[in-house]
């Protein structure tokens, strides 16, 4: 069991190392990259938006009673803006994309693998790693931060509505408080980590797809493993990120 996990980690590391070798070689497949970016944005934005909105609203409503108890409800926008922007919006975005994009990539490349489409690209004078993997990993690495930034805004709007259910703050006051609270040390690390989330979602999806075993069962398993492993890694990266910001006194 432990041995298998270590072997798997080694294989993923090798697959990732290949990404860094291939990404700098000439002949970047730009149109495929754009197609993937569009696809990712198009496919996950609605879900990310709805979830971020609901999370913003719910977190605000649930935090309110505690603050009221201490007579500190004026702090509500401050408190929720930190938790939403630092943690909730980026992690929710990453998890949704792991579920939607990571599994999609795993299933797509998996079925391409078992129906020999990847071999067919190879004999058609195309490096399938560059065409399929590099473009998808670049696309997830770029798009997940963009989606996360949108999720930040949308979840804060949800937070604003949450504050206002009890007629608490005006639009201007809310946003003034939010931007007074949020500093460089909140925003930059939280965006930086989403690049890593995106990279991991792309690379794990591609790795699972490329190593899919024969049969439709293999394809389903690739999609499933892509979601499980990348979601787990998202949390691990999140844990590492908080350690780093803590060590740098940014928290």
């Amino acid at each position: 069991m432990i041995k298998n996990i270590l072997i798997e980690i080694g294989l993923i590391a090798r697959f990732t190392a290949r990404f860094f070798r291939e990404v700098f070689k000439p002949q970047f497949e730009f149109s495929e990259f754009l197609r993937q970016c569009f696809y990712i944005g198009n496919k996950s934005f609605p879900l990310v938006a709805i979830t971020a909105f609901i999370m913003g609203l719910v977190i605000t409503m649930q935090s309110r009673p505690t603050l009221v108890e201490f007579g500190a409800q004026a702090w509500l926008p401050k408190m929720i803006s930190v938790s939403l922007v630092r943690e909730i919006a980026p992690v929710i975005t990453a998890l949704i994309c792991a579920g939607k994009i990571g599994s999609g990539i795993g299933a797509e490349l998996g079925s391409m693998k078992v129906t020999e489409q990847i071999d067919a690209m190879d004999v058609s004078g195309t490096n399938p790693y560059k065409f399929l993997v590099v473009t998808r990993v670049m696309a997830t690495t770029l798009m997940i931060p963009i989606l996360a930034i949108l999720a930040d805004g949308i979840s804060l709007y949800g937070g604003y509505l949450g504050c206002n259910i009890h007629g608490l703050v005006s639009w201007d006051l809310f946003w003034n408080q939010v931007f007074d609270t949020l500093v460089f040390a909140d925003i930059v690390p939280s965006i930086l980590k989403t690049f890593f989330f995106g990279f991991i979602i792309g690379i794990i999806g591609c790795y699972q797809g490329f190593n899919s075993s024969k049969g439709t069962e293999g394809v389903g398993q690739s999609a499933n493993s892509a979601v499980v492993i990348s979601s787990l890694l998202v949390f691990i990266i999140d844990l590492l990120a908080v350690q780093i910001t803590d060590a740098l006194n940014l928290n």
Binding site: S111, M112, V114, T115, E116, Q117, D119, A120, M121, D122, V123, S124, G125, T126, N127
Partner: protein, 255 residues
């Protein structure tokens, strides 16, 4: 039967387009190809006959460079495949077409885009009109010009096979490697595909290796048959010769 190859035509005096010597390939302890020798002559259709899992697909994937051999040499047009650089390998793959068992049509692309893919990749400078002409020519050759704007998922199994064949033909290869071209098709469609393969051999004077265990297809297309058993070339001969063989392991394929 209207159209069958000349079973007894001799290719012995012609040049070899593929020459394999002492080929070995194992996956772990599984010795799939175990000292295989073989020559394909110009213009010849050779069928490789063998049980499921005997290493037939591995054999032709070694020839096209999708897998690397452990030992032995494969020469395609006098070039040793294992020594070729990526760009030389691409040049070789223009001359050697591969028809995949599962067709390998790109699901996300239309029929036209599927056919354009190898053209645009291998011959980057081909003009738009030229690409169009070649796509329509290849589709006409397989009798399906009307499918040009359809998606692969909208086609039947036999049509998909024809489109895959059109995609292989579009680069006008001199050698075609067919991986079980009639497996999974109904007998009538299988026969149509077999005759199509014969037409192509005649029209473009291609040489082919055809992997099959469909004895009807073998009867139609084979100039010569090679039996792949235990990873070696166990027996070779024309259809009639092998059909009358006394070796039980050979005979079982013809029952």
């Amino acid at each position: 039967m209207a159209e069958v190859v000349e079973h007894n035509k001799s290719f012995n005096s012609l040049e070899s387009v593929i020459s394999i010597k002492g080929l070995r390939k194992a996956f772990g302890d599984n010795k799939v190809i175990n000292g295989f020798d073989f020559d394909l002559k110009r213009g010849e259709n050779v069928v490789v006959l063998g049980k499921s899992g005997s290493g037939k697909s591995v054999l032709i994937k070694l020839i096209i460079g999708l897998m690397k051999p452990d030992q032995g040499s494969i020469e395609v047009f006098k070039d040793k495949v294992e020594t070729l650089s990526t760009s030389q390998l691409d040049e070789m793959r223009v001359k050697v077409g591969f028809l995949f068992q599962s067709n390998a049509l790109y699901d996300s692309m239309t029929v036209r885009e599927n056919l354009e893919f190898p053209l645009r990749r291998h011959r980057k400078k081909t003009s738009k009109e030229e690409v169009n002409k070649l796509v329509m020519e290849a589709l006409t050759n397989v009798g399906l010009p009307q499918t040009v704007d359809m998606m692969p998922s909208e086609l039947s199994g036999g049509m998909r096979k024809r489109i895959a064949l059109a995609r292989t033909l579009i680069l006008k290869p001199e050698i075609i490697l067919y991986d079980e071209p009639t497996t999974g098709l109904d007998p009538i469609t299988g026969k149509e595909i077999s005759h199509l393969m014969l037409d192509i051999q005649k029209k473009y004077n291609t040489s082919s290796i055809i992997i099959s265990h469909d004895i009807n297809c073998v009867k139609i297309v084979a100039n010569r048959i090679v039996m792949l058993i235990d990873g070696i070339c166990y027996a070779t001969g024309t259809y009639n010769e092998l059909e009358n063989s006394t070796d039980t392991r050979v005979k079982q394929f013809f029952e």
